[in-house]
């Protein structure tokens, strides 16, 4: 048995690719993430409250899991969620900083503050899908397939994990982001 990539999703401000095929392209005048959310008729109002990192992870994981085609929302502990990036929750951190930067307008935003950690997105995906396995967001100094593969391999060693939703998830602003998410199964 060895880990095999079952499906891949690549999502950038310009396009959405599933298993290497381009399935959607950006349209003028609307956030591409919101465009994909509406186009795919995803019914999850909390989406609009999320920061861009969480929106990116939510959309990419939803498409990845739709592509998998397995029954959704069944509690399971054999699937891990392990994501990576370089800049943590930088966009939410900056947005929150703006709410406290001016002493005359010092109103820390609770709803922004809750997204000032990168592992909020792994938790969101795990909660949404009822995954009770490992949930981890790892910061790397740079995008490294080797480092990411090592983390996934370690996850499979716990004796319980049989699949891992993993990949690079970076969002430094509302218009600069990249998700390369994949589903890896031990086969």
């Amino acid at each position: 048995m060895e880990p095999k990539v079952i499906h891949r999703v690549k999502l950038t401000p310009r396009s959405l690719e599933v298993d290497g095929k381009r399935v959607a392209e950006a349209v003028a005048g609307e956030s591409f993430l919101t465009h994909v959310y509406r186009q795919r008729q995803m019914d999850y109002p909390k989406f609009f409250k999320m920061d861009v990192l969480c929106k990116l992870g939510f959309i990419a994981s939803e498409i990845l899991l739709e592509t998998e085609g397995a029954e959704r929302f069944v509690p399971r502990a054999d699937r891990a969620v392990i994501l990576f990036n370089r800049n943590s929750s930088l966009n939410a951190d900056r947005t929150f900083q703006r709410t406290i930067a001016d002493p005359e307008e010092f109103y820390p935003s609770p709803s922004v503050f809750v997204y000032t950690l990168p592992n909020i997105v792994t938790g969101e995906i795990a909660i949404r899908n009822k995954y009770h396995g490992e949930s981890n967001f790892i910061l790397l100094p740079e995008k490294s397939e080797e480092a990411m593969n090592q983390a996934v391999e370690r996850a499979f060693m716990d004796g319980e994990t049989t699949s891992v939703l993993t990949g690079w998830l970076e969002a430094v602003s509302e218009t600069e982001y990249e998700a390369e998410m994949k589903l890896i199964m031990m086969m």
């Binding site: 109002p45 609009f48 409250k49 307008e105 109103y107 820390p108 935003s109 609770p110 709803s111 809750v114």
Partner: protein, 85 residues
Amino acid sequence: MELIEELKTKMIEALNLEEMTPADIDDNAPLFGDEGLGLDSIDVLELIVLLERNYGIKIADPKQGKEIFASVRTMADYVAANRTK
């Protein structure tokens, strides 16, 4: 009445209720729970910030929140009686 509409607009913006318009929010409907707007605990904190920022109201006693945020109408009544700006 004008204050109620103003509050609805500010709530939609502050809580990112993108799918909603002021007309979708019933003046008397509960803001929390399955029957109402379905807001959560983080939304309550955001509403407290909204009242302080826009109307100069500081809610010192968290227990007051349940009554103040029962509906948009109770919020408007509280704002009208306690606003400092």
